[in-house]
Amino acid sequence: MNSRGFSALVSCAAAWVVPGAGHFYLGKRRRAGVFFLVVLATFFLGLLNEGRAYVADGQQPLSYLATLTNVATGPVELLSRQATYHRLVYQLPSDENSPEAAAILSAMRSKVKSVTDEYGTTYLLAAGLMNMLLILDAFDIAIGRKS
C-alpha cells in the first residue's frame, strides 16, 4: 500500500473513532476542532432529548440503514444504545415473543412516550450522517482529491 492509501485508511478509521480526528491527522486542525464540537454537540443533544438508537428489524428494511447511520457516529454511539435499551443491542430478535425482544420493544416504547423523542432521534441520526460525510471528506483530502 502506498503512503496515500495508508494515509486514507488511517484518516478514515480515525474519523470514525473520534469525529474530526481524520481531519486532525491530515493537518486540518481548526476544522477538526469545529467538526468534533459540532458532531458531539449534535449527538449529546440527541441524548438529552431522549432520542433512541435504532435496532435492525428484519420486518422493517429501512431500520438497517438507520442502525448503520447510528453506528457511523463511532464508539460514542454505545452511550445512546445503552441509554435506550440498557444493553448493547443492534438487532431485534426474529422471534418477537421472546423475552429479549419484549425487553427491547418495551425500552423503545418508553422512549417514544417522551415529548422530545423525535427531536432526540433526529439529532442522533444527524450526528451519524455528519460523521459519514466527515469520513468521506477525510478520504478525499487524503488521496488529494480535495484540499
Binding site: V38, V39, N49, E50, T116, T122, Y123
Partner: protein, 62 residues
C-alpha cells in the same frame, strides 16, 4: 432537554449550517456566506411550511 420546538429548530439549523460551512468552504468569507444562507433557508422554509400546514386539522375528518 429542549422542550421548545422553535428552539430545537434554531439549534439544529445552526449546527447543520456550521457543519456544512466548514465542510464545503475553505475561505472565511465564503464559509460565513454559506452558513448564513443555509441557516436562513432552513428556518424561513420551515416557518413557511408550518404556516402552509396551519389550515389543516391535526386529526383526520371522520
Amino acid at each position: 432537554m429542549l422542550r421548545s420546538h422553535f428552539l430545537n429548530m434554531l439549534v439544529f439549523a445552526a449546527l447543520v449550517s456550521v457543519f456544512f460551512g466548514f465542510l464545503t468552504q475553505n475561505e472565511r468569507r465564503e464559509r460565513l456566506k454559506v452558513m448564513t444562507i443555509l441557516f436562513l433557508s432552513m428556518v424561513v422554509l420551515s416557518l413557511l411550511i408550518a404556516y402552509a400546514m396551519f389550515p389543516f386539522p391535526l386529526t383526520s375528518a371522520r
